[in-house]
């Protein structure tokens, strides 16, 4: 009755469960990241889904979740003034407590458009998730403008998304105000 044999199987079972979890995540990530559905396709699917689930499970769950998310996003966009027009993310690396993703983001703040690319490192330490932004590259049409290039260069160097977006918002508002003033005097 050797306990070490049982222990060896138990260890293998744990390792396999972990590997299965990572493979499943990887499969789902690749599925998610390499697909795209247009808004019409989404609307069509909502109708089909409602028809399909009529009388069975409450059809509202997925639809309700979708509506809540859209409402929260639209609320944040209105509040912050940031309108993201496209976003893609690719998982480069994923282990038990470490994920590396590459993000591409484009959007507008008032009339100023921007394009960002960055890497995001996520680490899990006990209950806490920490993130680090690296390799941030920022493209803006108005980058040659000395005011813009100041805040873009420094925030780009340090991966400082928070300060970039705050500066962008302040500058965009000022720019918009100036634009309207000029129009007023035309």
């Amino acid at each position: 009755m050797d306990n070490s044999i049982c222990q060896a199987y138990e260890d293998e079972i744990q390792a396999l469960k972990e590997e299965i979890r990572l493979l499943t995540d990887k499969y789902e990530d690749i599925q998610q990241e390499s697909t795209f559905f247009s808004d019409e396709e989404i609307l069509k699917s909502i109708k089909l889904f409602q028809r399909e689930t009529k009388g069975y499970e409450s059809p509202s769950d997925l639809k309700a979740q979708l509506e809540t998310l859209e409402r929260d996003l639209s609320f944040l966009m209105k509040l912050t003034g940031f309108h993201f027009t496209s976003h893609s993310k690719k998982t480069l690396e994923k282990t038990r407590n470490r994920t590396v993703q590459k993000h591409r983001l484009s959007g507008k703040c008032h009339s100023l458009s921007f394009q960002l690319e960055f890497q995001l490192l996520e680490t899990q330490n006990k209950e806490k998730v920490s993130t680090v932004v690296t390799d941030l590259s920022i493209i803006m049409d108005s980058r040659e403008d000395s005011d813009v290039s100041k805040f873009v260069s420094s925030t780009e160097e340090h991966g400082d998304l928070v300060t970039f977006f705050r500066s962008l918002s302040a500058y965009a508002e000022w720019y918009e105000h100036r634009r309207r003033t000029f129009l007023h005097f035309k």
């Binding site: 199987y9 079972i13 499969y27 690749i30 599925q31 699917s45 997925l62 929260d72 996003l73 993201f84």
Partner: protein, 275 residues
Amino acid sequence: DFRAFPGVLAHLEMLEARARREAVQQEEKEKWEEKLAFLKARAQELRLLRDELRDKVEQQEKVQLGKEGILSDPSPRAVLEWKIRSLQNLLQVFHLTGISGKLSNRSACFSIHTAYEGFSLDSFHLELLLRPGLRIQRHSIPAFIPLEQISRKLLHSDLRSFLDLLSRHLNAFVGRRHQLELLQEHFSDWIQGTPQRNSLCNLLSFQYHIPGKSRSFPFQARLLYGDPCRSLPTEVTVSCSPDAPAPLAEAASAHSELLRNTALHRAFHSLKSME
């Protein structure tokens, strides 16, 4: 009459005990064999599942290199789940810009996520009631941040500016605290004693010396961050004891200049590389 045969009784008890023991051992053996068989089968089951998934992922990677999309003829449910995940990803992006929020009929909940140079730090939360008038119901903003002052000025007139100003205060506070933590972590052999700071981390005082150089004349640094929304100090004094040699006194004023213009931990990295 068993009194005449004490040995027999004892012998019978011994046989009984042995039988009990053997029964227990047999039961344990059977339990163990059952457990082992179960574990073996479970491991085998998981191994098969793992191999299946490995093949699936390999297939997927092959297909991905060729065509545009993988989900050929997806079910409406799959499409909706894809959209839900896309929206969640977009909310994650907002989180990285420093804010999360959820709106309901009665309230709006905000989280301000602070960061210093790309490193995520603390998150602070606010719950606002919308009716009958906009007001703060609950929050986790520390007492030394002038929340009341800021909300009196901006909450009812300009929600965006209110959150923006609050975020500036919080990010600056967290940034100053983080710089001090980095300093203590990377330059523990330079620092003498324990740095003194206030809760808001805008008043800092500590003693340091350059390793290898004179320990008996430490520098005394005092930093005042007069602007609560900035993570660079407005006033820096670096001094050393009056009987310290002249070059040290000169170094003190150079250090003072450096600390006024550079983040704390980075200033010390510069000092280190100059040695």
